[in-house]
């Protein structure tokens, strides 16, 4: 089953797919999916992200293979839903997307061994975790100024039940920019698989429903420009659309140069 959350006609609604271009609200109304505002498909609690979790992406960025998962966290304000507009500041020269499998925790998890880990998963969604590389600094890297910007982490459109995803390590993913495929990968190439990540995190912190782990992105990131349409997609999970907006569009009257 696939479940989403949208704002429509003055309220927030749960929804399910209804054909290719429509959705069905919980009260039975069927509406065009482009007529709603998409929210992340669940209420996120702690948001984890994993850096350099695909060997090909790590070498693309000239990093050695991680011995321990490189984890960083995100705040609520960084999150947005399907079809969100994300700002590309005018002084940035390198902004890229990151297509990632997002794993949503469904039960309290503490010291969970890897072979039990998938029992604690509620479901999966697609993430696009934008980065602005100009703002990277080497302190608690990747730092928040680069990775925790407003509406720079998209989640959605659907939360797909774990029961419908027998193996999260067997999913093809790709990104299209303006219709052209720029990134291809496969979750079997993760350095730290979904069960390993749950084992690692739950060893020192208690995971709880709503926690979500963004599991990293493979090679193939390219610079984005204002006006670009970015579609990150994972087979069987969904296609997540994002729009890049330059300052001229984002801030009609700019507050700063």
């Amino acid at each position: 089953m696939k479940r989403g959350r949208v704002a429509y006609s003055g309220g927030v609604h749960a929804c399910t797919p209804h054909g290719d271009v429509r959705i069905r609200l919980e009260d039975g109304r069927v509406v065009e999916e482009s007529a709603v505002v998409w929210l992340p498909p669940f209420e996120p609690r702690t948001v984890f992200a994993v850096g350099l979790n695909y060997a090909d992406h790590a070498s693309e960025l000239k990093f050695a293979r991680q011995k321990e998962p490189l984890i960083f966290l995100k705040g609520r304000g960084s999150l947005a839903g399907h079809r969100a507009q994300t700002r590309r500041p005018s002084d940035a020269t390198s902004m890229h997307y990151e297509c990632e499998l997002a794993v949503v925790i469904g039960a309290v998890a503490r010291s969970v061994p890897r072979n039990e880990a998938l029992k604690y998963v509620a479901g999966y969604t697609v993430a696009n975790d934008y980065a602005i590389r100009d703002y990277l600094e080497n302190y608690y890297r990747p730092n928040l100024r680069s990775k925790n910007r407003d509406a720079a982490t998209l989640l959605g459109p659907w939360l797909v039940d774990a029961a419908d995803v027998p193996d999260p390590g067997a999913l093809a993913l790709r990104t299209r920019v303006n219709g052209r495929i720029t990134q291809r990968g496969h979750t079997s190439d993760m350095i730290f698989s979904v069960p390993l990540l749950i084992e690692y995190l739950s060893e020192f912190m208690t995971l709880a429903p709503g926690d979500v782990i963004l599991t990293g992105t493979p090679a193939g990131v390219v610079n984005l420009n204002p006006g670009d349409v970015v579609i990150t997609e994972i087979d069987g999970i969904g296609s997540l659309v994002g729009y890049i907006a330059g300052d001229a569009k984002y801030h009609v009257v700019t507050g700063k140069a």
Binding site: R45, T46, E68, L70, I71, F72, L73, K74, G75, R76, G77, S78, V108, R110, S111, Y135, E137, N138, Y139, Y140, R141, P142, N143, L144, R145, N148, R149, D150, F204, M205, T206, L207, A208, P209, G210, G255, K256
Partner: protein, 230 residues
């Protein structure tokens, strides 16, 4: 939501951010390293971390520490202040920043000691119970008094550490302004002013008390992780 400590949980209706390397003495202590690998250049923007929901614990709650930190190493503990956002703060100026702060929360920011600040210190900073956090104390007006006030950390009743907001690289207004340049802080979010790298060490069995700006105090006991005792 629950944590390991259902009776001791301290809810925060937002995200808790903290600043590291926000002390002049800390930057001076690293001066020889800031231009070397892996840092290569001194920090420009505020260096932030997040204290997630599993770390929030109320005054009086018991904090479990891993066996590896029970002996000589210990865990670092220190008082700090959390600015509670009252109205959305996006690209605010230093002069106007504190108008967005509606309350203060006293916090004991706990971490396993870690020398390197190159990678996010999640395993060190984000363990269950590592953020004792007091109730939000409403402010009558902008908290300008924060420009000069003291934080005290006591272990087993003995004052072990004290710091003043005058030691900060970015005081409350400057910090909030610089953070809001790249991300909006929302009502209920908390921005911690930071703790010094020289924060004192506490061990299993210790009672840690933090006092901040004369507002109120938090006291929490450290215990050894039961699983690791066995």
């Amino acid at each position: 939501m629950l944590s390991m400590y259902p009776d001791q949980y301290a809810p925060v209706p937002g995200t808790v951010y903290g600043a590291v390397l926000n002390f002049h003495a800390d930057l001076a202590g690293l001066a020889g390293q800031l231009h070397q690998p892996p840092y290569l250049a001194p920090p420009q923007a505020p260096v932030l971390y997040i204290k997630p929901a599993n770390t929030w614990i109320a005054d009086g709650g018991t904090i479990t520490i891993p066996a590896a930190a029970a002996g000589t190493a210990g865990v670092q503990v220190a008082a700090t202040i959390g600015l509670v956002i009252g109205t959305p703060a996006s690209r605010v100026t230093e002069e106007k920043a504190l108008e967005h702060v509606s309350a203060l929360r006293v916090v004991n920011d706990i971490t396993l000691p870690h020398e390197s600040v190159y990678r996010p210190a999640i395993r060190q900073r984000c363990r269950d119970g590592f953020c004792p956090i007091g109730p939000a104390i409403p402010l009558a007006g902008p908290a300008t008094f924060l420009a000069n006030c003291r934080m005290r950390t006591l272990i087993n009743g003995v004052l072990q550490h004290e710091w003043s907001t005058k030691e900060l690289v970015r005081g409350p207004g400057r910090l909030l302004a610089d953070v809001s340049e790249f991300m909006t802080l929302w009502p209920g979010d908390v921005l911690l002013l930071g703790t010094p790298r020289a924060a004192p060490l506490a061990r299993a069995g210790d009672r840690v008390r933090v006092e901040a700006a004369g507002l109120n105090a938090l006291e929490n006991e450290l215990v050894l992780c039961a699983k690791e005792v066995a």
